[in-house]
Amino acid sequence: MLKINKLHKSYPIGDSSLHVLKGIDLSVEAGEMVAIMGSSGSGKSTLLNIIGMLDEADEGEYILDNVPIKNLTEKKAAIYRNKFLGFIFQSFNLINYKNALDNVALPLYYQGLKRKERIEKGLFHLEKVGLKDWAHHLPNELSGGQKQRVAIARALAADPKLLLADEPTGALDTKTSHEIMDFIQSLNDEGKTILMVTHEEDIASMCKRIVRLKDGVIIEDTFVEQVRASQYV
């Protein structure tokens, strides 16, 4: 699904620069569910953003679905993001003046789908996250968990191959976190490849593989026995 080789990334800070990723090697197969862990500032988000083509590496190789991602024009990157990737953010990032349905249907708009089709698909995915009845509510009328579920529905709308989540449960309480994880696990069961950043051990243990970062390098990469979130729900 994706393959990363000797990836480096630095941020310029004043005259000097901060070397954040110092040669990352990682490959993920289709159907995996990977947690990226590490202390704050270890470069987790940076790695995820590069994988998500929101940012670019300075050095190294990144191949996504057999396509080398290198020097993409913004337009190409946008098209890949739209086709391959679904993003789930810690702070949901819903558009606050659009209702839940319109938020979910937005990636489909950029896919060039007709309105009718978008509404159909949007409703389908909202139903999947159990929020069909909330379709016409604005984000500020929803709870945090509901918002994240809308965001997940939006990430799923374009039927991406890879879901990227940066601390998807970071803004939620434990119970809601487990509900969200339960749902994400069911998506993985259906075959979606999932990469998520977290620094909560119990959330990480609900994935199938844990990658630990420290000071810009991978210090541990282990496959684990998945803890089902459903037992807590």
Binding site: E74, K75, I95
Partner: protein, 413 residues
């Protein structure tokens, strides 16, 4: 261009513009006001010009009236204060010797008691050649103006204005072929013309043949004044100077005597007013366009702020797959849309103001404004300019919106 016809494109525009209605409205004020000024002032200027043209339309504007007064300098044995008398021969000489002359029309005028049946009045009576009709167009309502045969045969015929008709005749009475008395002599009425809106020089309501006038008033070769008309391509002021110089020479007047001949240069007066009107139009365009540009810049500025505020949202959209072009397109469309709506509102309010002005000042014969309006083509041009300006100004925030990397946009709070 397909996207222009999609509901969602406009939904997006609508959503983002209604998010902050007050600001959107304030944004539009500049362009609205600019267009309103442009339409209102251009329309009014046109109205004034129209009323002016209606007033002077019947006159050959490239003309000057010349009459004789008394000298202010002694010359060739004559003392100052001598009364100068214009002759027909003076008119002939001017016609022959001044470059660029179209017509020279000698005229005479006197007061007469005019009687018809039991109605009478004291009016100015003019002795005129048919040529007068060329320089001071008479709109005939009935009959004809004086013709050459009248002149050749010293006929006792008269052409009167509608005004005189109203004063001397019963309502709806037949008058062609009727006789009226001028100082006791019978004159046959041969024509009636529309009373002019503007009178240049002495009242011009009753005309008899020049030769007849000469005879009954014993004028000999004397004339009262003359109207000189220049060909359109010649400068009427130069003609005036040249003609006066010849007149001074013929009448033994000191070349620098400025009092001996009086004149009224219609061309110069006309030029002053048309100059004023042109100036006003120019000013209108200048003020209007400057306001418009300021207004469009204001729109660009506000959109820049809006785009800045929406940085994060734009980042989210890009994460979801919006291409930079799609983002730019949307911003430009918003710019054009606001500009256009503001412009249309300006056109509507400018048009309403013109309608109001028209109902206040545009009615009747003496109206200050005649048909105060702007042509559709000006409106059209204004709209096209707005679209172009809106697009150009929209490009600035549009590029701003996509100049930042998606990741940085997402990080924005």
């Amino acid at each position: 261009m397909k996207f222009l016809f999609e509901r969602d494109t406009w939904q997006e525009v609508y959503d983002s513009l209604t998010k902050n209605k007050l600001r959107t409205a304030l944004t539009m004020v500049g362009v609205w006001w600019g267009i309103l000024l442009l339409i209102g002032l251009l329309g009014s200027a046109r109205g004034i010009e129209n009323s002016f043209n209606r007033l002077f339309g019947s006159f050959a504007t490239n003309s000057v009236f010349v009459w004789a007064q008394s000298t202010s300098k002694p010359f060739k044995g004559f003392q100052e204060g001598r009364q100068v008398q214009l002759k027909i021969s003076d008119a002939k000489k001017i016609e022959e010797n001044v470059e660029g002359i179209e017509f020279v029309v000698p005229r005479n005028q006197s007061q007469a008691l005019v009687v018809h049946n039991f109605l009478s009045g004291n009016f100015g009576v003019n002795g005129d050649y048919p040529l007068l009709d060329q320089v001071q167009k008479k709109k005939m309502i009935q009959g004809r103006f004086i013709n050459q045969t009248d002149i050749d045969e010293n006929r006792k015929v008269v052409v009167i204005s509608e005004e005189i008709y109203k004063q001397l005749f019963e309502k709806d009475a037949e008058m062609i072929g009727e006789y009226i008395q001028l100082n006791g002599m019978n004159f046959k009425v041969v024509g009636m013309f529309e009373t002019g809106n503007a009178n240049m020089g002495p009242s011009s309501d009753i005309h008899i043949p020049f030769t007849t006038f000469q005879q009954i008033y014993n004028m000999g070769e004397n004339i009262g004044w003359m109207m000189i008309t220049g060909k359109p391509e010649y400068d009427i002021s130069q003609i005036e100077t040249d003609a006066k110089l010849i007149l001074k020479n013929l009448n033994k007047v000191h070349p620098e005597d400025n009092r001996a001949f009086g004149s009224f240069n219609l061309g110069k007066e006309f030029a002053k007013i048309t100059g004023f009107l042109t100036g006003m139009q120019f000013l209108t365009w200048f003020v209007g366009i400057a306001t418009l540009i300021a207004g469009v810049f204001a729109i660009g500025n506000i959109l820049l702020i809006t785009v800045k505020e929406r940085t994060k949202e734009i980042g989210v959209r890009r994460a979801l797959g919006a291409t930079p072009f799609e983002i730019k397109r949307q911003v430009v469309l918003e710019a054009v849309f606001i500009t256009l709506i503001a412009g249309l509102l300006g056109i509507i309010s400018g048009g309403s103001i013109l309608m109001l002005l028209d109902s206040l000042y545009g009615q009747g014969d003496e109206a200050m404004l005649v048909n105060a309006s702007v042509s559709i083509s000006i409106v059209f041009v204004a709209l096209i300019i707005l679209i172009v300006l809106g697009t150009l100004i929209g490009l600035i925030p549009a590029f701003k919106a996509t100049s930042i990397k998606p990741i940085d946009a997402l990080r924005e709070e």
